[in-house]
């Protein structure tokens, strides 16, 4: 695409493609080379792509990436990550659910972002509502104080995280969450019990390879083999912290076909999410419990 000044502007797809290939190479390389990745600390800023200047009708993703890059320049404790979900735009495709499963390589029984569906009214006046439910990253998380071994805590930037090496698997935090946002990794696999290698069929042996290559939650490669953590641990949505720390938006935000999910730093008055949560048609789930969720819904 050529701009008015004759320069070639990067369009949205080119930006995302360059970013994706660079980040993917960076994420996979340590596991392939057998090195352990550094924990997801924001001590050093990632090399971030140069984004085009703001344009009136630009894709919200580009604006959110710009907001993200701005937030990453700040100290961690000055960021306040929030997610905003526009219920009028969500079409219930569940792409966010699946992309999250793929991104975090979630096993059976573990889901970070289901999309509950609700049918309202009676025929012929029926509507369906879809309410994506990630972890609320509550400011007053009931799941944190109940952990007997401090395996979960709220970061300064607002994300509630898990330490898989600390968790003893008592599941007390799961009972404490009023949103059902935590699930438990029982060590199950999708390919378990499927037919072995057959002619013209990939089979369990081949397919199981995908299940055992590493996932990169919290910036650490964790291949799924034997019974090591996070098997036997509680797991939850963490706003794709490993992506955020590398200048990428959470996978669900990027995947949403309706552009219904927004993410950013609410402490930044210029950010898209700050603009959205200032609207009057905003609500949060189970506000009466006083958990102060950081996921807002637009009605």
């Amino acid at each position: 695409m050529t701009g008015s000044a004759g320069k070639v502007d990067l369009d949205r797809r080119e930006v995302l493609a360059k970013l994706a290939s660079a980040v993917f190479a960076g994420l996979v390389a340590p596991a392939v080379l057998g090195e352990s990745a550094a924990p997801a600390e924001a001590a050093t800023l990632p090399e971030l792509p140069v984004l085009p200047p703001p344009q009136p009708e630009e894709d919200p993703l580009v604006r959110m990436m710009r907001d993200l890059q701005r937030a990453l320049q700040k100290p961690v404790e000055q960021r306040r990550w929030v997610m905003v979900i526009d219920l009028c735009k969500c079409v219930g495709c569940h792409a966010c659910t699946i992309s999250c499963v793929v991104e975090n390589k979630l096993p059976p029984g573990v889901v970070y972002r289901p999309v509950p569906e609700e049918e309202l009214g009676t025929y012929p006046h029926v509507v369906r509502r879809f309410i994506p439910r990630p972890c609320m990253q509550c400011d007053r998380p009931p799941c944190v104080p109940v952990c007997p071994v401090n395996a979960t805590w709220k970061r300064p930037d607002g994300i509630v995280v898990m330490d898989y090496e600390q968790c003893i698997g008592c599941r007390y935090c799961i009972t404490a969450c009023p949103y059902g946002a935590r699930t438990f990794d029982f060590g199950d696999r999708y390919t378990k019990g499927t037919p072995g290698a057959r002619p013209f069929l990939l089979g369990e042996e081949g397919a199981a390879v995908h299940e055992t290559i590493p996932m990169f939650e919290y910036g650490q490669p964790r291949p799924r083999r034997d019974e090591s953590s996070p098997i036997g641990n509680t797991r939850k949505c963490h706003f794709c912290l490993h992506r955020i720390e590398r200048g990428l938006l959470p996978q669900c935000v990027v995947t949403c076909i309706g552009r219904a999910t927004f993410f950013g730093d609410a402490n930044d008055p210029e950010s898209l999410v700050a603009e959205l949560i200032a609207r009057p048609n905003v609500m949060r789930l189970k506000e009466e419990l006083g958990t102060e969720p950081k996921v807002y819904y637009l009605l």
Binding site: T97, P108, G109, V110, V111, P114, V115, P116, E117, E118, I131, R133, P142, P145, V146, C147, P148, V149, N150, Q166, C167, I168, G169, C170, R171, Y172, I174, T175, A176, C177, P178, Y179, G180, R182, T183, F184, D185, F186, G187, D188, E227, S229, I231, G232, N233, T234, L289
Partner: protein, 381 residues
């Protein structure tokens, strides 16, 4: 004959349990039926059950060592031993329930004392040590009378703290309105006392069958205590359920309706209420019946069955009913269900642990001087 039958049942239970333990050790939680929504199952319910009995029987031990109640003289050692084996059974259940049981040391070296669970882990450990110490000292009661009193007092406080604490473990969960009632830390100590009394009724009814006036009086006292505690238990149950149903809030009503009219209604109406409460009350009120050893044992057994069902009816419904009902169909999976019934592996482990506790008691009863007849009379003061 009865002793042989009991030994046989206990051994079979242990053998069956060995298969369950092997499965648990080899395959982790793969063959357990609980999932990510109903995360706590049979083992947590039986942990509450056994530990409730442990704290309850300990209180009866203090009736000898601390309060010097004459009718309970020479019964303390047996009560302590029962507390020890039931505590072990309860803790074994909850240890096997952990996702990473090998990391239990973290609760001791890296605890978060804001967590009620961490508090009761430390509490039960201290409680177990006190029971062991008192059991050792009970073989020289004259020499250690002072220490027995001190440890009884500390242990009594711990027993109340722990039984109430288990109630608080559930009660602090604002996410679970069925649990989040002020009654929970209050009623659990009564449940513990009642289940402790029931176990003593069972043991004194089945064993130590030498007919003597002291034994008859003991059974009569235990029967009266049990009757009162049963009525208190029923009052708590009525208060809890009736308030929830009257208030009409869906998140309170749904679990109660699940208990009363759900798929496992029989666990409440038949096991908990009829067999576990009403039949025992009838026996206890029937003139002369409760002091007959066989009927006393039956009463104790039925009450214990009722309490086991009651613990399940506390744990499961709160987890099986979610006010985010739409979660059910949002993402499918065997672990993402709101329905739960223990798997064969879970039953096997629980039966095995129960059998092991029973076997330990039988062997100790036959081989160790733990029964009242082995405890010398205290010298007249």
């Amino acid at each position: 004959m009865m002793r042989r039958v009991l030994y046989g049942v206990a051994i079979l239970a242990v053998l069956f349990g060995l298969w369950g333990i092997y499965d648990r050790a080899a395959f982790g939680h793969h063959n357990a039926a609980y999932g990510s929504y109903v995360v706590w199952g049979l083992w947590v319910a039986l942990y509450l059950f056994f530990n409730g009995i442990a704290t309850g029987t300990f209180v009866f031990a203090t009736l000898e060592y601390l309060f010097r109640v004459p009718i309970f003289a020479r019964t303390g050692r047996l009560s302590l031993f029962l507390a020890l084996i039931t505590l072990g059974a309860g803790l074994l259940h909850i240890w096997l329930d952990l996702g990473r049981p090998e990391r239990i040391w973290k609760a001791y070296l890296q605890p978060n004392f804001n967590s009620v669970m961490a508090q009761i882990v430390w509490g039960y450990t201290l409680f177990g040590l006190i029971i062991l110490a008192m059991l050792a000292m009970s073989f020289r009661p004259q020499r250690y009378a002072g220490w027995l009193r001190i440890l009884s007092a500390i242990g009594l406080f711990l027993a109340l703290f722990l039984s109430g604490g288990v109630g608080a473990l559930l009660g602090v969960q604002a996410a679970r309105p069925f649990w989040h009632v002020g009654l929970f830390p209050v009623q659990f100590p009564f449940f513990s006392l009642a289940s402790g009394a029931a176990l003593l009724l069972l043991v004194y009814g089945l064993f130590d069958r030498a007919a003597n006036e002291h034994r008859a009086q003991l059974l009569r006292t235990l029967a009266i205590l049990t009757l009162v505690l049963q009525l208190i238990k029923l009052y708590f149950l009525w208060a809890d359920y009736s308030q929830s149903l009257y208030g009409g809030m869906p998140q309170n009503v749904a679990p109660v309706q699940e208990v009363l009219f759900g798929r496992y209604w029989w666990a409440f109406w038949i096991l908990q209420l009829f067999l576990g409460s009403l039949v025992p009350i009838v026996i206890l009120l029937w003139p002369g019946l409760s002091t007959k050893p066989a009927w006393a044992a039956l009463t104790g057994f039925l009450i214990l069955v009722g309490f086991a069902a009651a613990r399940a009816n506390i744990v499961f419904p709160a987890l099986a009913v979610s006010d985010l009902k739409q979660l059910i169909g949002a993402f499918h999976g065997a672990r993402l269900q709101f329905h739960y019934f223990p798997s064969p592996m879970e039953w096997a482990v629980s039966i095995g642990i129960s059998g092991l506790a029973g076997l330990a008691f039988l062997i100790a009863y036959d081989r160790l001087p733990i029964t009242p007849k082995h405890v010398p009379e205290a010298p007249a003061r």
